[in-house]
Symmetry: C2
Subunit: 200 residues, 2 copies
Protein backbone atom coordinates (compact mmCIF):
# COMPACT_ATOMS: atom_id res chain seq x y z
CA UNK A 1 0.00 0.00 0.00
CA UNK A 2 1.24 3.44 -0.86
CA UNK A 3 -0.31 6.20 1.11
CA UNK A 4 -3.68 6.99 2.45
CA UNK A 5 -5.26 10.14 1.12
CA UNK A 6 -8.33 12.02 2.24
CA UNK A 7 -11.44 11.55 0.16
CA UNK A 8 -11.07 14.89 -1.52
CA UNK A 9 -7.40 14.46 -2.30
CA UNK A 10 -7.93 11.00 -3.70
CA UNK A 11 -10.78 12.24 -5.82
CA UNK A 12 -8.61 14.95 -7.29
CA UNK A 13 -5.83 12.50 -7.93
CA UNK A 14 -8.18 10.14 -9.75
CA UNK A 15 -9.41 13.01 -11.91
CA UNK A 16 -5.86 14.06 -12.76
CA UNK A 17 -4.86 10.53 -13.67
CA UNK A 18 -7.98 10.06 -15.75
CA UNK A 19 -7.44 13.33 -17.61
CA UNK A 20 -4.11 12.03 -18.77
CA UNK A 21 -5.49 8.70 -19.94
CA UNK A 22 -8.75 9.91 -21.46
CA UNK A 23 -6.96 12.66 -23.35
CA UNK A 24 -4.46 10.20 -24.78
CA UNK A 25 -6.75 7.27 -25.52
CA UNK A 26 -10.30 8.56 -25.44
CA UNK A 27 -13.23 7.50 -23.32
CA UNK A 28 -13.74 4.10 -24.88
CA UNK A 29 -10.05 3.50 -25.25
CA UNK A 30 -9.40 3.83 -21.54
CA UNK A 31 -10.34 1.13 -19.03
CA UNK A 32 -11.16 1.72 -15.39
CA UNK A 33 -8.53 -0.85 -14.56
CA UNK A 34 -5.89 1.25 -16.31
CA UNK A 35 -6.93 4.34 -14.44
CA UNK A 36 -6.79 2.50 -11.12
CA UNK A 37 -3.36 1.10 -11.93
CA UNK A 38 -2.00 4.47 -13.00
CA UNK A 39 -3.37 6.01 -9.82
CA UNK A 40 -1.92 3.22 -7.71
CA UNK A 41 -5.23 2.15 -6.21
CA UNK A 42 -7.82 -0.57 -6.67
CA UNK A 43 -10.64 -0.24 -9.16
CA UNK A 44 -13.21 -0.27 -6.38
CA UNK A 45 -11.77 3.00 -5.12
CA UNK A 46 -12.74 4.73 -8.36
CA UNK A 47 -16.31 3.56 -7.95
CA UNK A 48 -16.37 4.84 -4.40
CA UNK A 49 -15.87 8.31 -5.83
CA UNK A 50 -17.73 8.04 -9.12
CA UNK A 51 -20.79 5.89 -9.67
CA UNK A 52 -19.89 5.17 -13.28
CA UNK A 53 -17.00 5.64 -15.67
CA UNK A 54 -19.14 8.17 -17.51
CA UNK A 55 -19.62 10.18 -14.35
CA UNK A 56 -15.86 10.37 -13.94
CA UNK A 57 -15.55 11.62 -17.49
CA UNK A 58 -18.19 14.24 -16.88
CA UNK A 59 -16.43 15.39 -13.73
CA UNK A 60 -13.30 15.88 -15.81
CA UNK A 61 -15.11 17.95 -18.39
CA UNK A 62 -16.61 20.09 -15.70
CA UNK A 63 -13.25 20.69 -14.06
CA UNK A 64 -11.63 21.49 -17.38
CA UNK A 65 -14.46 23.85 -18.29
CA UNK A 66 -13.73 26.10 -15.38
CA UNK A 67 -10.35 27.71 -15.84
CA UNK A 68 -10.37 31.13 -17.40
CA UNK A 69 -6.72 31.92 -17.96
CA UNK A 70 -6.76 32.38 -21.71
CA UNK A 71 -9.70 34.69 -21.84
CA UNK A 72 -8.41 36.73 -18.94
CA UNK A 73 -5.03 37.37 -20.48
CA UNK A 74 -6.63 38.16 -23.80
CA UNK A 75 -8.91 40.70 -22.21
CA UNK A 76 -5.96 42.27 -20.48
CA UNK A 77 -4.09 42.58 -23.74
CA UNK A 78 -7.18 44.09 -25.34
CA UNK A 79 -6.72 47.13 -23.19
CA UNK A 80 -3.34 47.50 -24.85
CA UNK A 81 -2.63 49.84 -27.67
CA UNK A 82 -2.09 47.84 -30.82
CA UNK A 83 -4.23 45.26 -32.57
CA UNK A 84 -1.15 43.15 -33.11
CA UNK A 85 -0.62 42.91 -29.39
CA UNK A 86 -4.07 41.51 -28.78
CA UNK A 87 -3.79 38.89 -31.48
CA UNK A 88 -0.28 38.03 -30.42
CA UNK A 89 -1.41 37.55 -26.85
CA UNK A 90 -4.27 35.26 -27.85
CA UNK A 91 -2.18 33.25 -30.28
CA UNK A 92 0.83 32.86 -28.05
CA UNK A 93 -1.24 31.84 -25.06
CA UNK A 94 -2.99 29.17 -27.10
CA UNK A 95 0.29 27.85 -28.42
CA UNK A 96 2.08 27.86 -25.11
CA UNK A 97 -0.74 26.33 -23.14
CA UNK A 98 -1.37 23.57 -25.63
CA UNK A 99 2.27 22.77 -26.14
CA UNK A 100 2.84 22.56 -22.41
CA UNK A 101 -0.23 20.35 -21.96
CA UNK A 102 -2.12 19.11 -25.01
CA UNK A 103 -4.70 17.28 -22.92
CA UNK A 104 -7.31 20.00 -23.16
CA UNK A 105 -7.23 20.07 -26.93
CA UNK A 106 -7.31 16.32 -27.20
CA UNK A 107 -10.18 16.03 -24.73
CA UNK A 108 -12.16 18.60 -26.63
CA UNK A 109 -11.67 16.72 -29.87
CA UNK A 110 -12.32 13.31 -28.37
CA UNK A 111 -15.46 14.37 -26.56
CA UNK A 112 -16.87 16.00 -29.67
CA UNK A 113 -16.03 13.08 -31.93
CA UNK A 114 -17.24 10.48 -29.47
CA UNK A 115 -20.39 12.49 -28.95
CA UNK A 116 -20.23 12.89 -25.22
CA UNK A 117 -23.27 14.56 -23.72
CA UNK A 118 -21.22 17.29 -22.04
CA UNK A 119 -19.14 18.01 -25.08
CA UNK A 120 -21.27 21.01 -25.89
CA UNK A 121 -20.83 22.60 -22.49
CA UNK A 122 -17.13 22.00 -22.84
CA UNK A 123 -17.10 23.72 -26.20
CA UNK A 124 -19.14 26.68 -25.00
CA UNK A 125 -16.93 27.36 -22.03
CA UNK A 126 -13.54 26.84 -23.63
CA UNK A 127 -13.98 27.70 -27.26
CA UNK A 128 -17.03 29.74 -28.07
CA UNK A 129 -16.25 32.39 -25.49
CA UNK A 130 -12.87 32.98 -27.04
CA UNK A 131 -14.42 33.23 -30.47
CA UNK A 132 -16.90 35.75 -29.22
CA UNK A 133 -14.27 37.78 -27.48
CA UNK A 134 -12.13 38.06 -30.59
CA UNK A 135 -15.15 38.55 -32.78
CA UNK A 136 -16.39 41.53 -30.82
CA UNK A 137 -12.89 42.97 -30.72
CA UNK A 138 -12.74 42.81 -34.49
CA UNK A 139 -16.24 44.16 -34.91
CA UNK A 140 -15.19 47.18 -32.92
CA UNK A 141 -12.18 47.62 -35.18
CA UNK A 142 -14.47 47.52 -38.18
CA UNK A 143 -16.78 50.10 -36.69
CA UNK A 144 -13.88 52.34 -35.90
CA UNK A 145 -12.68 52.07 -39.46
CA UNK A 146 -9.38 50.33 -38.72
CA UNK A 147 -10.52 47.15 -40.49
CA UNK A 148 -12.46 46.72 -43.67
CA UNK A 149 -16.03 45.46 -43.33
CA UNK A 150 -15.90 41.71 -42.73
CA UNK A 151 -17.99 39.13 -40.93
CA UNK A 152 -16.25 39.43 -37.60
CA UNK A 153 -17.08 35.97 -36.28
CA UNK A 154 -15.98 34.10 -39.36
CA UNK A 155 -12.85 36.16 -39.55
CA UNK A 156 -12.06 35.69 -35.86
CA UNK A 157 -12.38 31.96 -36.35
CA UNK A 158 -10.11 32.27 -39.33
CA UNK A 159 -7.31 33.65 -37.21
CA UNK A 160 -7.87 31.15 -34.44
CA UNK A 161 -8.00 28.49 -37.13
CA UNK A 162 -4.45 29.22 -38.24
CA UNK A 163 -3.24 28.67 -34.70
CA UNK A 164 -5.45 25.69 -33.92
CA UNK A 165 -4.52 24.01 -37.17
CA UNK A 166 -0.84 24.51 -36.43
CA UNK A 167 -1.40 22.80 -33.09
CA UNK A 168 -3.50 20.06 -34.62
CA UNK A 169 -0.78 19.21 -37.07
CA UNK A 170 1.92 19.01 -34.44
CA UNK A 171 0.12 17.78 -31.36
CA UNK A 172 -2.47 15.44 -32.85
CA UNK A 173 -0.98 14.32 -36.12
CA UNK A 174 2.49 14.22 -34.66
CA UNK A 175 4.30 16.17 -37.34
CA UNK A 176 7.70 17.23 -36.09
CA UNK A 177 8.06 20.91 -35.54
CA UNK A 178 10.83 22.39 -37.68
CA UNK A 179 13.43 23.81 -35.33
CA UNK A 180 13.60 27.03 -37.28
CA UNK A 181 10.14 28.11 -36.18
CA UNK A 182 9.77 29.32 -32.61
CA UNK A 183 6.26 29.83 -31.24
CA UNK A 184 6.83 33.57 -31.26
CA UNK A 185 7.80 33.63 -34.91
CA UNK A 186 4.90 31.46 -35.96
CA UNK A 187 2.38 33.57 -34.12
CA UNK A 188 3.99 36.75 -35.41
CA UNK A 189 3.64 35.45 -38.94
CA UNK A 190 -0.03 34.61 -38.51
CA UNK A 191 -0.73 37.93 -36.85
CA UNK A 192 0.95 39.92 -39.60
CA UNK A 193 -0.87 38.05 -42.35
CA UNK A 194 -4.18 38.40 -40.62
CA UNK A 195 -3.84 42.07 -39.81
CA UNK A 196 -2.63 43.05 -43.24
CA UNK A 197 -5.46 40.96 -44.56
CA UNK A 198 -8.26 42.71 -42.77
CA UNK A 199 -6.90 46.24 -42.75
CA UNK A 200 -8.48 48.77 -45.06
Amino acid sequence: MRERLSGEERRRQIVETAVDLFSRKGFRGTTTREIAEAAGISEAMIFKHFATKRELYSAIIEVKSETEQLLASAAKAARGTHDAEVLRAVGLKMLEQTERDPSLMRLLLFSALEGHELSEIFFESRVRRLHEFLSSYIRKGVEEGRFRPVDSLIVARGFIGMVVHYLLIHEVFGVKRPPRASPEEVVELFVSIFLKGIQR
Copy 2:
Protein backbone atom coordinates in the same frame (compact mmCIF):
# COMPACT_ATOMS: atom_id res chain seq x y z
CA MET B 1 -32.35 -13.09 -46.28
CA ARG B 2 -31.85 -10.06 -48.49
CA GLU B 3 -29.75 -10.68 -51.51
CA ARG B 4 -26.73 -12.62 -52.37
CA LEU B 5 -23.73 -10.59 -53.51
CA SER B 6 -20.47 -11.64 -55.07
CA GLY B 7 -17.45 -11.66 -52.82
CA GLU B 8 -16.11 -8.46 -54.25
CA GLU B 9 -19.40 -6.61 -54.04
CA ARG B 10 -20.01 -7.74 -50.49
CA ARG B 11 -16.54 -6.69 -49.50
CA ARG B 12 -17.08 -3.23 -50.91
CA GLN B 13 -20.42 -2.97 -49.19
CA ILE B 14 -18.91 -3.93 -45.85
CA VAL B 15 -16.21 -1.31 -46.29
CA GLU B 16 -18.79 1.36 -47.12
CA THR B 17 -20.93 0.50 -44.14
CA ALA B 18 -17.91 0.45 -41.87
CA VAL B 19 -16.70 3.82 -43.12
CA ASP B 20 -19.95 5.33 -42.03
CA LEU B 21 -19.85 3.77 -38.57
CA PHE B 22 -16.14 4.20 -37.86
CA SER B 23 -16.25 7.82 -38.95
CA ARG B 24 -19.18 8.54 -36.68
CA LYS B 25 -18.18 6.52 -33.63
CA GLY B 26 -14.52 5.71 -33.98
CA PHE B 27 -12.75 2.37 -34.05
CA ARG B 28 -13.38 1.43 -30.44
CA GLY B 29 -16.85 2.87 -30.46
CA THR B 30 -17.99 0.62 -33.25
CA THR B 31 -18.71 -3.08 -32.78
CA THR B 32 -18.47 -5.72 -35.44
CA ARG B 33 -22.04 -6.67 -34.58
CA GLU B 34 -23.21 -3.15 -35.44
CA ILE B 35 -21.41 -3.24 -38.75
CA ALA B 36 -22.95 -6.58 -39.61
CA GLU B 37 -26.40 -5.38 -38.67
CA ALA B 38 -26.07 -2.19 -40.68
CA ALA B 39 -24.86 -4.18 -43.65
CA GLY B 40 -27.69 -6.67 -43.26
CA ILE B 41 -25.46 -9.70 -42.87
CA SER B 42 -24.13 -11.93 -40.11
CA GLU B 43 -20.97 -11.09 -38.20
CA ALA B 44 -19.27 -14.18 -39.57
CA MET B 45 -19.50 -12.68 -43.04
CA ILE B 46 -17.28 -9.79 -42.00
CA PHE B 47 -14.64 -12.19 -40.79
CA LYS B 48 -14.79 -14.10 -44.05
CA HIS B 49 -13.55 -10.94 -45.71
CA PHE B 50 -11.33 -9.46 -43.01
CA ALA B 51 -9.35 -11.52 -40.53
CA THR B 52 -9.74 -8.94 -37.78
CA LYS B 53 -11.64 -5.76 -37.09
CA ARG B 54 -8.34 -3.93 -37.29
CA GLU B 55 -7.74 -5.30 -40.76
CA LEU B 56 -11.10 -3.94 -41.86
CA TYR B 57 -10.17 -0.55 -40.46
CA SER B 58 -6.86 -0.64 -42.28
CA ALA B 59 -8.60 -1.54 -45.52
CA ILE B 60 -10.76 1.53 -45.09
CA ILE B 61 -7.79 3.78 -44.54
CA GLU B 62 -6.11 2.38 -47.59
CA VAL B 63 -9.18 2.92 -49.74
CA LYS B 64 -9.62 6.44 -48.43
CA SER B 65 -5.97 7.21 -48.99
CA GLU B 66 -6.24 6.60 -52.69
CA THR B 67 -8.48 9.21 -54.23
CA GLU B 68 -6.74 12.18 -55.68
CA GLN B 69 -9.53 14.55 -56.59
CA LEU B 70 -8.57 17.49 -54.44
CA LEU B 71 -4.96 17.63 -55.46
CA ALA B 72 -5.84 17.16 -59.09
CA SER B 73 -8.26 20.04 -59.20
CA ALA B 74 -5.86 22.21 -57.28
CA ALA B 75 -3.10 21.48 -59.74
CA LYS B 76 -5.41 22.31 -62.60
CA ALA B 77 -6.29 25.62 -61.05
CA ALA B 78 -2.62 26.33 -60.50
CA ARG B 79 -2.20 26.63 -64.23
CA GLY B 80 -4.69 29.46 -64.05
CA THR B 81 -3.74 33.06 -64.02
CA HIS B 82 -4.46 34.47 -60.58
CA ASP B 83 -3.31 33.45 -57.15
CA ALA B 84 -6.82 33.98 -55.88
CA GLU B 85 -8.12 31.34 -58.25
CA VAL B 86 -5.76 28.71 -56.95
CA LEU B 87 -6.56 29.35 -53.33
CA ARG B 88 -10.25 29.57 -54.07
CA ALA B 89 -10.16 26.24 -55.87
CA VAL B 90 -8.38 24.53 -52.99
CA GLY B 91 -10.58 26.07 -50.33
CA LEU B 92 -13.85 25.47 -52.09
CA LYS B 93 -13.02 21.89 -52.92
CA MET B 94 -12.19 21.20 -49.29
CA LEU B 95 -15.39 22.80 -48.10
CA GLU B 96 -17.63 21.15 -50.63
CA GLN B 97 -16.16 17.70 -50.25
CA THR B 98 -16.25 17.75 -46.50
CA GLU B 99 -19.71 19.18 -46.28
CA ARG B 100 -21.04 16.59 -48.68
CA ASP B 101 -19.32 13.81 -46.77
CA PRO B 102 -17.56 14.56 -43.49
CA SER B 103 -16.43 10.98 -43.01
CA LEU B 104 -12.95 11.55 -44.36
CA MET B 105 -12.23 14.37 -41.94
CA ARG B 106 -13.66 12.47 -39.01
CA LEU B 107 -11.73 9.33 -39.88
CA LEU B 108 -8.52 11.30 -40.12
CA LEU B 109 -9.09 12.83 -36.71
CA PHE B 110 -10.21 9.61 -35.09
CA SER B 111 -7.36 7.58 -36.47
CA ALA B 112 -4.81 10.14 -35.32
CA LEU B 113 -6.32 10.52 -31.87
CA GLU B 114 -6.81 6.81 -31.38
CA GLY B 115 -3.28 6.25 -32.58
CA HIS B 116 -3.98 3.82 -35.37
CA GLU B 117 -0.88 2.38 -36.97
CA LEU B 118 -1.91 3.50 -40.47
CA SER B 119 -2.88 6.99 -39.37
CA GLU B 120 0.44 8.30 -40.59
CA ILE B 121 0.03 6.87 -44.07
CA PHE B 122 -3.43 8.36 -44.13
CA PHE B 123 -2.08 11.75 -43.15
CA GLU B 124 0.72 11.63 -45.69
CA SER B 125 -1.55 10.78 -48.58
CA ARG B 126 -4.47 13.07 -47.80
CA VAL B 127 -3.00 15.98 -45.94
CA ARG B 128 0.71 16.39 -46.33
CA ARG B 129 0.62 16.29 -50.10
CA LEU B 130 -1.84 19.14 -50.17
CA HIS B 131 0.34 21.13 -47.78
CA GLU B 132 3.32 20.56 -49.96
CA PHE B 133 1.51 21.50 -53.10
CA LEU B 134 0.33 24.80 -51.68
CA SER B 135 3.65 25.40 -50.00
CA SER B 136 5.59 25.08 -53.22
CA TYR B 137 3.07 27.27 -55.02
CA ILE B 138 3.62 29.97 -52.44
CA ARG B 139 7.36 29.55 -52.47
CA LYS B 140 7.30 30.19 -56.19
CA GLY B 141 5.26 33.32 -55.61
CA VAL B 142 7.83 34.50 -53.11
CA GLU B 143 10.67 33.85 -55.53
CA GLU B 144 8.87 35.73 -58.26
CA GLY B 145 8.38 38.66 -55.93
CA ARG B 146 4.58 38.54 -55.77
CA PHE B 147 4.63 37.61 -52.09
CA ARG B 148 6.77 38.89 -49.31
CA PRO B 149 9.37 36.46 -47.93
CA VAL B 150 7.59 34.05 -45.63
CA ASP B 151 8.02 30.45 -44.50
CA SER B 152 5.93 28.94 -47.27
CA LEU B 153 4.97 25.73 -45.47
CA ILE B 154 3.82 27.40 -42.28
CA VAL B 155 1.92 29.97 -44.27
CA ALA B 156 0.29 27.37 -46.50
CA ARG B 157 -0.86 25.54 -43.39
CA GLY B 158 -2.18 28.83 -42.11
CA PHE B 159 -4.49 29.21 -45.06
CA ILE B 160 -5.59 25.59 -44.94
CA GLY B 161 -6.05 26.04 -41.21
CA MET B 162 -8.68 28.72 -41.70
CA VAL B 163 -10.68 26.36 -43.88
CA VAL B 164 -10.10 23.24 -41.78
CA HIS B 165 -10.98 25.07 -38.60
CA TYR B 166 -14.18 26.33 -40.17
CA LEU B 167 -15.08 22.74 -41.02
CA LEU B 168 -14.03 21.50 -37.62
CA ILE B 169 -16.32 23.92 -35.89
CA HIS B 170 -19.31 23.02 -38.01
CA GLU B 171 -18.84 19.35 -38.80
CA VAL B 172 -17.22 18.09 -35.62
CA PHE B 173 -18.38 20.48 -32.93
CA GLY B 174 -21.78 20.80 -34.51
CA VAL B 175 -22.05 24.58 -34.49
CA LYS B 176 -24.86 25.67 -36.77
CA ARG B 177 -23.77 27.44 -39.88
CA PRO B 178 -25.19 30.96 -40.07
CA PRO B 179 -27.39 31.10 -43.17
CA ARG B 180 -25.79 34.36 -44.26
CA ALA B 181 -22.50 32.68 -45.09
CA SER B 182 -22.37 30.59 -48.25
CA PRO B 183 -19.29 28.41 -48.83
CA GLU B 184 -18.26 30.70 -51.67
CA GLU B 185 -18.36 33.80 -49.52
CA VAL B 186 -16.49 32.18 -46.67
CA VAL B 187 -13.73 30.93 -48.92
CA GLU B 188 -13.59 34.28 -50.70
CA LEU B 189 -13.11 36.00 -47.37
CA PHE B 190 -10.30 33.68 -46.31
CA VAL B 191 -8.62 34.01 -49.70
CA SER B 192 -8.75 37.78 -49.66
CA ILE B 193 -7.37 38.01 -46.14
CA PHE B 194 -4.63 35.56 -46.89
CA LEU B 195 -3.56 37.12 -50.17
CA LYS B 196 -3.55 40.67 -48.86
CA GLY B 197 -1.64 39.28 -45.88
CA ILE B 198 1.23 37.78 -47.80
CA GLN B 199 1.48 40.27 -50.63
CA ARG B 200 4.39 42.67 -50.66
